[in-house]
């Protein structure tokens, strides 16, 4: 087996040194009845690269690749062009095959990029501090709610109807244990009156912007109202590129920002791994979940970086930790931070504008189709259409023709009759004019 360096001779010599006469002796604590033979597993034997590659290539070919057809799905995961340098760099052995940087003397590479990542996330979101990542946007949102519950010592979390339903369900599942979670009803294309729901039991309001229907939300008034009642505003961002063009939540009064960073560097990956971004105000620092990297000096006086404030974390605080997270999204942080370093101020701004321009133009053309209405007036690169038919069937029909038109709202909210005809469409810099033409054409036919 190509990955196993010990030969039969090595194994004998080692057993000899240990002083036992067979490998079974080393497993002597395993209850006899639990020792199984190879034959019990109905699984194949060792296979060379060629065979594995053939089988998996064949399997993968059964998926329709997003990049090979006109493709307009978003709803929490966005297809962007990742510069080729990103994948090259993250595959460097020293990044790919290193552990969490607990030995800072030989992990400054990882530590410094985490420090830079934290800075970038803080800058993007307009917040004071950010951590070194959580799993993804949905779990980051969940951690944010739990953190708000800890800070305010209140249990009630109010979720906007515009919060991605998967995020809402995740929060309900987990943060529901440490308090109550209320979901405001869905108001596609409109901002609900969430302020009315805030009371003095409220730990936090969770508002996503752009929301799951693409709508850009004005957070300032919500922040003010929340703060007036001693509650925190948690802003959620699922399309981080939007912050290249839109006022950041920090500037609108958010207390915690939980975001999905997948759009930069990471790719679609069928849903994971992604990277959870988490930022907040300095005063909440010691309540933050997740790892933090900080600047310090070494014994020779040189600047260096270390993981810090780990007294918040499970390995020190155990059941009193601010979170149970251990492994996070290290390598995805790296991809994110490299992509953002490549873009820089100018590149990010151009990218964001290119996305908005493309989505705007597409929205105009689609809204011109008879029977199709644009439900979202203010958006970044994603908007919702009201179709004259159930959106799911339209999506299926177009998929048959090799066009992936978007995500039907009913996929996320099957029980909400009102969203049955809504189609959520995202357009990015990766969609060509021909892609858009194909969608306009096919949708016109499908709803005719």
């Amino acid at each position: 087996m190509r990955y196993l360096p010990l030969t039969p001779d090595d194994r004998s010599a080692m057993l000899n040194k240990i002083g036992v006469d067979g490998i079974d002796r080393l497993f002597r604590d395993v209850p006899h009845s639990a020792v199984v033979q190879r034959s019990i597993f109905d699984l194949p034997d060792t296979q060379g690269e060629l065979g594995v590659e053939r089988a998996l290539t064949k399997m993968a070919a059964k998926s329709k690749v997003a990049g090979s057809l006109p493709f307009f799905c978003g709803a929490g995961a966005y297809r962007h062009h990742v510069p080729s340098a990103v994948d090259h760099l993250i595959q460097r052995s020293e990044f790919l095959t290193s552990y969490t940087p607990y030995q800072p003397e030989i992990a400054q590479g990882t530590l410094q990029y985490l420090f830079e990542f934290q800075t970038q996330v803080a800058l993007l979101t307009g917040m004071e501090v950010a951590n070194a990542s959580l799993y993804d946007g949905s779990t980051a949102t969940c951690e944010a709610v739990q953190m708000a519950q800890r800070i305010t010592k209140r249990g009630k979390a109010i979720l906007s109807g515009g919060l991605h339903p998967h995020y809402a369900e995740t929060v309900e599942t987990v943060a529901g244990l440490s308090g109550t979670v209320t979901r405001s009803p869905v108001t596609p294309g409109k901002a609900e009156d969430i302020i009315a729901l805030i009371d003095d039991q409220t730990a936090c309001i969770v508002v996503q912007s752009p929301d799951v229907f693409g709508l850009i939300r004005n957070l300032k008034p919500i922040a003010d109202a929340a703060h007036a009642k001693g509650a925190l505003l948690i802003a959620v961002v699922t399309e981080i590129v939007s912050l290249g063009l839109i006022e950041p939540p920090g500037a609108q009064g958010a207390d915690i920002v939980a975001a999905e960073g997948q759009s930069l560097g990471v790719g679609l990956n069928f849903g994971g791994p992604y990277v959870g971004l988490f930022a907040t105000r300095e005063k909440f620092l010691r309540n933050m979940p997740g790892r933090l990297c900080g600047e310090t000096t070494d014994a020779a006086g040189k600047r260096g970086y270390v993981l810090t404030l780990s007294t918040r974390e499970q390995h020190i605080r155990r059941e009193k930790a601010t979170s149970n997270i251990c492994t996070n999204s290290g390598l995805c942080c790296l991809a994110f931070t490299i992509h953002l370093s490549l873009l820089g101020e100018e590149g990010l701004s151009r990218l964001a504008r290119a996305n908005h321009a493309r989505a705007s133009a597409l929205a105009d053309r689609l809204a011109d189709i008879k029977g199709v209405e644009l439900a979202t007036q203010a958006f970044f690169n994603e908007f919702t259409l009201k179709l004259p038919r159930p959106a799911a069937s339209v999506v299926d029909a177009l998929a048959e023709k090799g066009i992936v038109a978007g995500v039907p709202a009913s996929r996320l909210l099957p029980h909400d009759k009102d969203v049955r005809d809504l189609l959520i469409v995202a357009a990015t810099e990766t969609n060509t004019d021909e892609d858009c033409d194909a969608l306009v054409h096919a949708l016109s036919e499908a709803v005719a």
Binding site: V65, E94, G109, F115, V306, H315, S323, L342, G347
Partner: protein, 520 residues
Amino acid sequence: MNNQGRPTAPGTVEDNELPTISGDRGLQHEVSLIFELGRPGMTGVDIPEVQMSDARLGGLRRKGPVGLPGLSEPEVIRHYVRLSQLNYSIDAGLYPLGSCTMKHNPRLNEKMARLPGFADVHPLAPQQTVQGAFEAVSELMRWLTTLTGMPAVAMSPKAGAHGELCGLLTIRAALEARGEKRHKILVPSSAHGTNPATAAVAGFTVQEVPATEDGHVDADALEAALGPDVAAIMLTNPNTCGLFEPRIKEMADAVHKAGAYFYCDGANFNAIAGRVRPGDLGVDAMHINLHKTFSTPHGGGGPGAGPVVLSAALAPFAPLPLLVHDGNEFQMIEHADEASDGAKPFGRMCAFHGQMGMFSRALTYMMSHGADGIRQASEDAVLSANYILASLKDVMSAPFGEGPCMHEALFDDSFLEGTGVTTLDFAKAMIDEGYHPMTMYFPLVVHGAILIEPTESESKESLDRFIHVLRTMALEAKAGQTARFEGAPRLAPRRRLDETAAARKPILRWKPKELPQAAE
């Protein structure tokens, strides 16, 4: 594992060497922060300028710049290449972190994970268009359930700790379905920090179970602690001392008899995969760290994946989404009412369906090894750990005696007593020798713990060199030759870092200088 870095506030050292003008030293470069580089207007990505109106931004167009630096592609590449050169990695050397299973990460995994049919696929694309990706997930599920002897597996958890949470919530749901509310989780004192932390997140209280003198969970104490308020035990097996729990079935039986569930922390599955099925031991739920046992790369801290295998008793409560095959094609059930009769999913662990990028890698690993190779890997991992134990126990101190151990060898610091050298000094001196230190000060049940997990990926020659270096170090320390331990490491990119200062006055991000910098 994550207890390696006891805060250190090192003294200062003096460098008698002629300093370089640049500050760089041969192939090792000092690296500025990316924010200290760059010029306005520069970018490493060429994106055409577009016409755009503000009309559709709801009045919320960004008012100021983000504050990002502008760099060209060559500068960005150099920045990260130089940073990488400051890191240790498995690819470059033995990485004996106990509990972390730093095994070889096959390159084929990386290649397969990048197949567009797995990587360039959207989680909410129409299901009929992503059958290949579903098939890969389903295949992985088959391998996991077969290897563990468990009937079901929940795939969405994003790492081990997330899997623990998934497991405990499943247990919670099962208890609720029985109309019971039990609030206590029993956790051995040797447990990994995530175990108690997870129990707390899941809304349980934690009760510690002590260890015996020989490093096992005290089964008698455990049985005594069981009662109607105990929801589950969380037990790591092989445990964090690197030992298989000999009384595990007995404990499982007792737990079940008390109406509780047996959660197994599967972080150490690499010792037994292909030889022992946790299902045969009475386990009800166990997460598997694909980033340990199944070789998905640790990536400097993540990402991982923590699927949770479930017993028949718990399977109905697995969270959404659920992957099923209707005989014709795969379907991902995303809502409870679409699930089959009897399924009572407790909720959702995260958006979408889990860590596909890790699944494809782990599946590649499994298909490459085959069931025979996986079994052999476990045996080699255990063999290598025992070889280290046998080769070092006369000069270092093994708290639990003669062995055998499982996949990791545990020492304490009594062999350093009176030498003035601490476990930390010992570890830092290993850095100068070209090795990553082992896990230290964990598990908490022994003093100054030194936990060495060589994995199956090292050749005998490599193990022999490692043993030679550690033996020599131990002998030197005991002989009072402590020069190489004082202020070590001397030869790394950095000397010891001041962790105390870092925590006292945290600097967690770069900030722009208050005053504009004077022109050069």
